[in-house]
């Protein structure tokens, strides 16, 4: 097991290297002028395009640019993100906690609600409970996050003025950047509680409600569906039938036998769902003006801010590998039939 984990960890740098290589390979398709567009935003700067290309070495072959970037990284410098207006390392520090906070806060309800209602759905297959749950979940899954997000904003901010966009309001901003505020976890909602700032906590929570609700509603269906179908499969199996025949109570069957096995795909796929969630925050963060890694990544990609894309992608890649590792280990633990390695 330890060997397996080590092997996967050793693989991490390889993934990173390949990720960056792939990105630079895609960039091969661009002309130097297109790459210069990151630095030339105004018609008044048009005359300087050639000099910009020269200055940043944009005419060099892509492998050279990749090499340059790698050696820079080897020296501990992740580069400067032109879209975030700060060094990539600072940008990650600034954006990542915000995204993590939003994602974790959305993932927990997804997991709990998904497994709970998924199991119920399977047990009461084709009853009204099953139908309703599935319909509600499937409508969420069918809603584009920008449509849902904009509608929620319209109602809850525009009309009711309950939940504003952004991450916090001005008062909280001044408070958390003040000298007496201790940053313990980086997760603002936790830090506010730890600092005993209830009002600020409420403010942060208010800003999280809409984006988290959007994510939960949209991504709930996936987990629910997996739980339900996996549960149905288990319930249809011989050993369950035998148990039923033996007269074991339904709840015990579900809890003791079926659920344990049915959770195998749930466990393996939940890491993927977490990654989906991380990827899915892109639009949600954009709509709610939430300063996270997704919004940064998408703007960087749109504007060909290579350092920014690399920074945000590498981070996501790292998380992905970690999440996968966890999932593989869990997979091996819950399903001994699978040989690891």
């Amino acid at each position: 097991m330890a060997k397996f984990i080590l092997k996967r960890l050793a693989f991490l740098p390889v993934v990173m290297l390949c990720v960056t290589m792939l990105l630079f390979a895609i960039l091969q398709l661009l002309t130097p002028e297109m790459r210069a567009s990151l630095y030339v935003k105004d018609p008044r700067q048009l005359a300087a395009v050639d000099q910009i290309i020269e200055k940043y070495g944009l005419r060099d072959p892509v492998y050279k640019q990749w090499g340059r970037w790698l050696s820079q990284v080897a020296h501990g410098d992740l580069g400067y993100s032109e879209t975030a207006k700060m060094p990539v390392a600072d940008a990650i520090r600034a954006f990542f906690p915000a995204t993590l906070e939003l994602t974790v806060l959305s993932f927990i309800p997804i997991l709990l609600l998904g497994v709970f209602f998924g199991t119920l759905s399977a047990v009461y297959k084709d009853k009204w409970l099953d139908q309703t749950t599935r319909f509600v979940a499937i409508t969420g899954y069918s809603l584009p996050s920008f449509v849902l997000g904009l509608l929620l904003l319209m109602v809850f901010y525009g009309k009711l003025q309950l939940f504003p966009p952004g991450r916090y309001s001005l008062d909280t901003d001044l408070l958390v950047h003040g000298e007496s505020f201790r940053h313990v976890t980086g997760l603002l909602s936790l830090d506010c509680l730890l600092n005993g700032e209830f009002k600020a906590w409420l403010d942060v929570a208010k800003h999280l409600v809409l984006p988290a609700a959007t994510l939960v509603y949209i991504d709930l269906a996936l987990l629910l569906r997996i739980t339900r179908s996996s549960m149905l499969e288990e319930l249809g199996k011989d050993y369950i039938r035998t148990a039923k025949a033996k007269g074991l109570p339904g709840a015990v069957i579900v809890r003791k036998h079926a659920l344990k096995n049915a959770l195998i795909p749930v466990v393996t796929l939940s890491s993927l769902i977490f990654i989906t969630l991380l990827g899915g925050v892109v639009i949600t963060e954009t709509v709610f003006d939430y300063p996270g890694i997704g919004r940064w990544g998408v703007v960087a990609a749109q504007q060909l801010d290579i350092a920014g894309v690399l920074g945000s992608t590498m981070l996501a890649a790292m998380l992905f590998v970690a999440a996968n590792l966890v999932s593989d280990i869990l997979y091996a633990v819950v399903d001994p039939r699978i040989r690891v390695g």
Binding site: P43, Q51, L170
Partner: protein
């Protein structure tokens, strides 16, 4: 547990709706929601309006525009505005003596000296980053536009030239310039504000010596300490630039050399979404916002919100530029590349009749009526209404299908009319007025002759830059905003063969070049106006581009905002503001 937490959170949120709504009126905090991201706070680096909208509240140049005027200057950190009348400009117009005001302190408390002012100007000149603003002052003060030659190598004598051109004599700053230069004072009212030399050096910046200037020339942005740190003399200090939430928090400078500002705190925040900006304004959380003509109907009639309209601008936008010599190699925009009806030849727009055909096919009045909602007037040439040199008597083109047909029939000895043409007209993505301009041109030109075909295509900025730079775009739509309030800043980039646009269009008119050069060094305003009138007459005959409108814009702010005035030269005017004279006062109910 966690589910409980979430539900608790939801319940609590729903229980306390008041904290958002009933926010007390705060007369000392001003919030402005913008649309653009600032680039850098280093005055020698930044060339974008969003950065300068902050810089003008934090750093101070020698002079300042007198309220709404773009011509009359007030001294700011200078004690007097030099003129020939007061003897501070030498009779030959080449020596400027500028007395420096005493008793000014930087935000860190150190007093400002004439040496600081000199250092700031020299640093601005020699910083010279690619695509930066340094050339604006280098041209008048040093006589050449760059510290580097064509191949990018440093010119060795720049430091010495700068030391000779800018010097301190007692309490005055003396400028020795190679040729009289009409817009110099207005340039000094917008660029190269005063930095504290000692502070810059302390933060790892240039020490002003000859030995090190090359090392600080054309740096990468991240290497400049002034990119995020500020220490000016202005009425506000930068408390924090939060680049994650894209906002600036400015605090009043209580030790300001004039009476301190009335606003205590200013928030400038970039919010991408127009709806969010509008909502915050309507809720009273924002005091003024960026709102453009297309969303006019949505921001008008909000209770408690004023719209101040018909504000003149110093811009020419949109403009349709013709490329005289199109680079046809691998060019997707020119069809077959021949005049066979399926494409256009590379020299298609070098025929003046083709260009005039287009000029008579544009519905200028319709554009102003529909796209600009009836605001603004038709432009008469490259110089906007708000500048001297604007010539109201200059004839203009108007929609005239008969004349358009006449010219198209003449073009290429009748071949254009007989064979027709196909090409792609491009504009940069997400610019609605330019998109509308393209579509209007297309519809009118195509209705003249079924063989005329124009595809209107938005292309994103990287592709646009590539195409424009390599002269691949047959017609491209862009605009121009002023760097400083002077007609030269429009005539040169739009008509002069070395200008930013004609250079890539391959348009050249020797007579126009001569007139523009002459006007630049002419200090007599009447003569200058005559010269620019001639330039615009040539522009009318040559039609290197189509100018459409003299734009007017509107400002959207809460009715409690007082003391604001419009000056078209302010960056991002009329949305951003010079906050010093402003305050908030609620109307008595």
């Amino acid at each position: 547990m966690s589910m409980k937490k979430i539900s608790l959170l939801l319940v609590l949120g729903l229980c306390c709706p008041t904290s958002l709504k009933a926010k007390a009126f705060d007369p000392e905090t001003f919030t402005y929601l913008t649309f653009s991201d600032a680039d850098s706070l280093d005055p020698a680096w930044s060339y974008d309006t969003a950065s300068h909208a902050i810089i003008l509240n934090v750093y101070e140049p020698l002079f300042w525009f007198h309220e709404t005027s773009t011509e009359k200057l007030d001294p700011l950190i200078a004690a007097k505005v030099p003129s020939k009348a007061n003897g501070l400009i030498s009779p030959d117009g080449r020596t400027y003596t500028i007395p420096i005001r005493k008793g000014i302190k930087f935000h860190d408390g150190t007093p400002m000296t004439p040496e600081d002012v000199r250092y700031s100007i020299v640093r601005f000149l020699l910083f010279d980053r690619n695509a930066g603003p340094s050339s604006l002052l280098m041209q008048p003060i040093l006589g050449y536009p760059s510290t580097r030659d064509e191949s990018g190598k440093l010119k060795p004598d720049c430091w010495k030239d700068a030391m000779k051109a800018v010097e301190v004599k007692g309490d005055t700053l003396v400028l020795h310039i190679p040729k009289p230069y009409a817009p110099l004072l207005t340039l000094l009212a917008s660029w190269a504000p005063a930095l504290s030399k000692q502070w810059v050096v302390k933060n790892g910046g240039w020490d002003g010596s000859e030995a090190t200037w090359a090392a600080f020339n054309n740096p990468k942005k991240e290497s400049s300490p002034l990119h995020e740190k500020t220490n000016g003399t202005g009425p506000f200090k930068v408390e924090r630039w939060d680049r994650a939430t894209k906002q600036f928090i400015l605090l009043r400078n209580d030790a300001y050399w004039r009476k301190p500002a009335r606003l205590k705190r200013v928030i400038v925040k970039s919010v991408d979404d127009a709806n969010a900006r509008k909502l915050e304004l309507a809720a009273g959380d924002a005091d003024n916002i960026y709102a453009d003509r297309p969303v006019y109907t949505q921001v008008s009639n909000i209770p408690g919100v004023d719209i101040i309209d018909d504000l003149p601008m110093m811009e020419m936008n949109p403009v349709a530029f013709f490329t005289f010599k199109i680079n046809a190699a691998g060019n997707p925009y020119v069809g077959s590349g021949k005049l066979d009806g399926q494409g256009i030849p590379p020299d298609f727009f070098s025929d003046v009749d083709v260009r005039k055909g287009f000029a008579y096919s544009m519905d200028y009045a319709g554009f102003i009526r529909d796209v600009s909602r009836g605001k603004g007037t038709q432009a008469t040439g490259c110089i906007p209404k708000s500048l001297p040199g604007y010539n109201p008597k200059q004839p203009v083109y108007s929609l005239d299908p008969k004349k358009a047909e006449e010219h198209f029939r003449k073009a290429f000895a009748g071949q254009v009319w007989d064979n027709g043409f196909t090409f792609t007209l491009t504009y940069n993505t997400a610019n609605t007025p330019r998109q509308m301009l393209g579509q209007m041109l297309k519809r009118r030109v195509e209705s003249l002759n079924p063989k005329f075909r124009i595809d209107v295509r938005p292309i994103d900025w990287p592709a646009f830059l590539d195409g424009q730079r390599n002269s691949k775009l047959p017609i491209f739509l862009l605009g121009w905003n002023a760097d400083y309030p002077d007609p030269h800043n429009f005539a040169f980039p739009m008509v002069h063969s070395q200008g930013d646009y004609p250079h890539n269009q391959h348009y050249a008119n020797a007579k126009a070049d001569k007139l523009i050069d002459q006007a630049l060094y002419e200090t007599d305003i009447v003569k200058r106006k005559q010269l620019y009138a001639q330039v615009q007459a040539i522009e009318y005959d040559d039609v290197p581009h189509l100018v459409i409108q003299d734009t007017v814009r509107f400002r959207t702010q809460r009715d409690w905002v007082k003391g604001w005035y419009h000056n078209p030269i302010f960056p991002d005017a009329p949305y951003a503001s010079y906050f010093y004279p402003m305050y908030k006062e609620q109307r008595k109910p």
